[in-house]
């Protein structure tokens, strides 16, 4: 009663003061300033249940076509996202890794298949029409865009296809008839430090203007493709040097900066950028005078897995159209691909002007995050995971029975002690040293932890760089990728280069190195991981069709020593050697670990979901000292430990470890996101 009297008195005092004041009460309440996220446009629909949506295109007739990296293209209705058709074949062939999709003016589709090294032409109903540009030699075609070429000097726009070839890091310009017009080399993408960026994705943003994202360099380029007539006729005066460019970017969260920009789209006025590690779609100007300006962005508030509608999480592709049939009406539509959430989301872009008092929404970090990437390393009592967003390595101490975060190594950058993209790690010397493969900086980097492993004290400066060795000094192809590293007492360090494929053998000082090719299965599969068994047997994992090829080193070459075929449904991501001759295969698409025993039998650990014991896009696993298994549950932002017999033991992240298994609802409650279980299938 006394409390109520106190409150009443306070209210009366406030009312009295307001009455005495000449300022009305309503004006003293702060007026809500619209945020950059709210103004960008409302959420329309989402379509879940996809496997790996990596690219999207919109046709004027109201079709949303999605390239699924697992080997499908899917047609969705622009009205509500319902599925219209799905196909996994291109004529007599099977799609393997669709990586890019674009719509031609007549509504038909072009699909780039990175593994089959070709581009296929499909109708708007998903029927295969023909192979597009069969005479053009593709290395690894990925992003594809359709636009008009040049400045249309003759009046009529010349339709053109621009395609990123990640095999040679070039952009290929192809006419609508399928003839190669020109290749744009990396020389057209200069960085301020004199290096050259590598193109990731493309989009036309105007007549003869091509936007290019350079993900690893966090930069956006605008290329002026030059005179239409000259380009179309292949005039010798038009060369790569005729491409003028402007660029902006850098790594960071503020508008105009990016963290791994991927997909691009142009709506005739603005450039839309899928800013992957900032979890947003940024809308920016691409004009020379105002390049990089623009604060509106979608999503930005999704840092939790399975966050609900409108929350964007690791977007990799975007398509925007101004006038699309959506049922009985027409309107603008933006569709975002989020392979991390296995869904696409549609928004209605509305705002064209930005108010001066815009409230800026930056990527939100709510406490400690555990954005673990797809690699893990363990030696002695230390476990190493990495965080792609910040390019750091987190160190866990295992000596107290549960992983305790004791240090963080490195950070984003190009200096020798900094890292760009961490592709692989291996722990050495009982966990006192760590070797990482940095694909963006093209080098191996060896770190040492100064504190003895027995000390469980958080020490942020525990790590120091010992040395680096450039990929260019390993007898590897230019822009090679080392996708995995392992070590054994008998062999030393073995690193897998997916180009070739090749195995690089190094001593622990990194000074002595030998690079040799290995025989690979005659399929479209790519080598993705390497592991060493106790008996100096080396296993190399190929992704799809998934097999483990075994090798032994003898007579100065890698000799095949057997093949372990995996179930046809497996889409393999990573490999570790378990105890008693076991091989552990991380199956990211099926959210499980396949345990291959020495007797030839297999069993599967885990299933799709967020409850403990379940996985969402698992990235890697590592073997503990006692044969236990540490799994990097990338899509759930956590790690999990299993006993040697495969039973769940505990779940851990940077700031939390628990040993009582939680249901999906309990896990989602911990994530503090009331609208979290919005994706079907997430709460199994």
């Amino acid at each position: 009663m006394r409390e109520y009297r106190t409150r009443l008195a306070r209210v009366m005092v406030v009312a009295l003061l307001c009455a005495l004041s000449s300022t009305p009460l309503a004006q003293q309440v702060p007026v809500a300033v619209p945020s950059s996220s709210e103004l960008a446009g409302p959420f329309l629909w989402q379509s879940a249940g996809l496997h790996e949506p990596v690219a999207v295109a919109i046709t004027q007739e109201g079709l949303v076509a999605v390239a699924d990296g697992c080997g499908e293209i899917v047609g969705l209705c622009a009205t509500d996202g319902s599925r219209l058709w799905k196909t996994s074949t291109a004529g007599t062939e099977t799609l393997v890794k669709p990586a890019g999709i674009a719509a031609l003016a007549d509504g038909s589709l072009l699909v780039a298949d990175a593994r089959r090294r070709c581009v296929d032409h499909f109708s708007s109903r998903g029927e295969w029409v023909s192979r597009f540009a069969p005479a053009v030699a593709f290395g690894q075609p990925t992003s594809i865009a359709v636009g008009s070429l040049g400045r249309a000097v003759s009046g009529a726009a010349t339709q053109c296809v621009a395609l990123v070839d990640e095999g040679c890091h070039e952009i290929i310009l192809i006419s609508a008839a399928g003839e190669e017009l020109r290749r744009i080399s990396r020389e057209s993408f200069p960085m301020k430090d004199g290096s050259r960026a590598l193109p990731s994705q493309v989009a036309f943003v105007g007549s003869g203007l091509l936007a290019v994202s350079a993900s690893e360099q966090h930069e956006i380029f605008i290329l002026d493709l030059g005179d239409a007539a000259a380009v179309a006729t292949g005039a010798p005066t038009v060369t790569a040097s005729a491409v003028s460019s402007l660029s902006w970017g850098g790594r960071g969260p503020f508008p105009g900066l990016f963290n791994h920009p991927m997909g691009l789209a142009g709506d005739g006025e603005w450039l839309w950028i899928a800013d992957q590690f900032n979890h947003r779609i940024a809308r920016q100007s691409h004009a020379a005078a105002t390049k990089g300006e623009g604060k509106l962005a979608y999503g930005q508030h999704a840092v939790f897995p399975r966050a609900g509608e409108g929350a964007v999480h690791y977007p990799v592709s975007i398509a925007v159209a101004r006038d699309v049939a959506r049922g009985a009406q027409r309107g603008a539509l933006a569709v975002v691909c989020e392979p991390f959430e296995r869904r696409v989301q549609a928004f209605e872009p509305r705002a064209t002007e930005e108010p001066a008092d815009l409230r800026l929404v930056l990527p939100k970090l709510e406490g400690v995050q555990s954005h673990f990437g797809g690699s893990a390393a363990r030696a002695g009592k230390r476990l190493f995971l990495h965080d792609p967003e910040s390019a750091t390595i987190v160190v866990f101490d295992l000596s107290r029975g549960q992983p305790i975060h004791v240090s963080t190594l490195s950070g984003a950058g190009v200096k020798p002690h900094e890292t760009g993209r961490i592709d692989a790690m291996v722990a050495l010397n009982e966990g006192r040293r760590l070797l990482i493969a940095d694909g963006a900086n093209q080098r191996l980097a060896l770190f040492e932890l100064t504190a003895p492993p027995a000390e469980v004290i958080f020490e942020p400066f525990m790590g120091k760089l010992v040395k680096t060795r450039s990929y260019a000094r390993l007898d590897l192809p230019r822009d090679a990728t080392i996708v995995s590293i392992a070590q054994s007492d008998a062999l030393g360090i073995v690193a897998l280069c997916c180009e070739g494929p090749r195995i690089v053998t190094l001593d622990r000082s990194l000074r002595i190195a030998t690079t040799l090719p290995i025989t690979a299965p005659d399929t479209t599969a790519s080598a993705v991981a390497i592991a060493c068994a106790d008996d100096a047997l080396v296993g190399v994992l190929f992704d799809k069709p998934a097999v483990i090829c075994l090798y032994r080193f003898a007579d100065n070459e890698w000799k095949p020593a057997g093949i372990i075929a995996l179930p046809a449904t497996v889409n393999a991501r990573n490999l570790a050697a378990g105890p008693a001759g076991q091989w552990w295969v991380v199956d990211a698409m099926n959210d499980s670990i396949v345990v291959c025993r020495a007797d030839g039998t297999t069993n599967t650990l885990g299933s799709s979901g967020v409850a403990d014991g379940m996985f969402w896009l698992p990235g890697a696993c590592a073997r503990g000292e006692g044969g236990e298994m540490y799994v990097v549950d990338t899509g759930n932002h956590r790690g999990q430990e299993f006993t040697a017999s495969g039973e769940w033991k505990l779940t851990f992240s940077l700031g939390r470890t628990y040993t009582r298994p939680r249901t999906a609802d309990e896990v989602l409650k911990i994530r503090k996101k009331p609208d979290a279980p919005a994706v079907k299938g997430a709460t199994q």
Partner: protein, 145 residues
């Protein structure tokens, strides 16, 4: 007796003069690289003269002598000198000019001119030594009050 006293005074004066010289020219510091392949000796120069620490907000040069601990014939092919404040997650605001010259057999001399510690606190000096195969780091701390 007077003569003996004079001799003693002269000896003491001479000794004290000798003792003053090392203070005028600070000694070289020595550190092993992080994998033990190199011995790095370093000292600081201000306007071409050896200088004492600290050197807050004043341009200086780091002079380096680098010797291989393994093959005595081995010398660096390139050297990179940089400094950072690990607690503050930043480096210097300037880029030093680095010159590398080959000294006696098995050693190299290098200078990094234009270094500047613009803040108080712990600075980590990083010397990355390239032997043509690997780039190995030597590092030490300098704390400015």
């Amino acid at each position: 007796m007077k003569l003996i006293l004079c001799v003693i005074v002269l000896l003491v004066a001479h000794a004290s003069h000798d003792a003053a010289s090392p203070r005028d020219e600070p000694r070289w510091n020595e550190v092993a690289s992080n994998d033990g392949s190199w011995i790095v000796r370093w000292r600081l120069l201000v306007e071409g003269k050896p200088a004492e620490l600290p050197l807050a907000r004043k341009r200086f040069t780091i002079e380096l002598q680098i010797e291989s601990t393994g093959d005595p014939q081995e010398t660096p092919t390139a050297v990179l000198v940089d400094a950072q404040m690990p607690e503050h997650l930043h480096g210097m605001n300037v880029a030093p000019i680095i010159a590398l010259t080959t000294g006696a057999v098995g050693s190299a001399l290098a200078t990094a001119e234009g270094m500047l510690f613009h803040m108080s606190g712990r600075w980590e000096v990083d010397v990355d030594i390239d032997d043509g195969t690997t780039v190995e780091r030597a590092q030490w701390n300098i704390t400015l009050p």
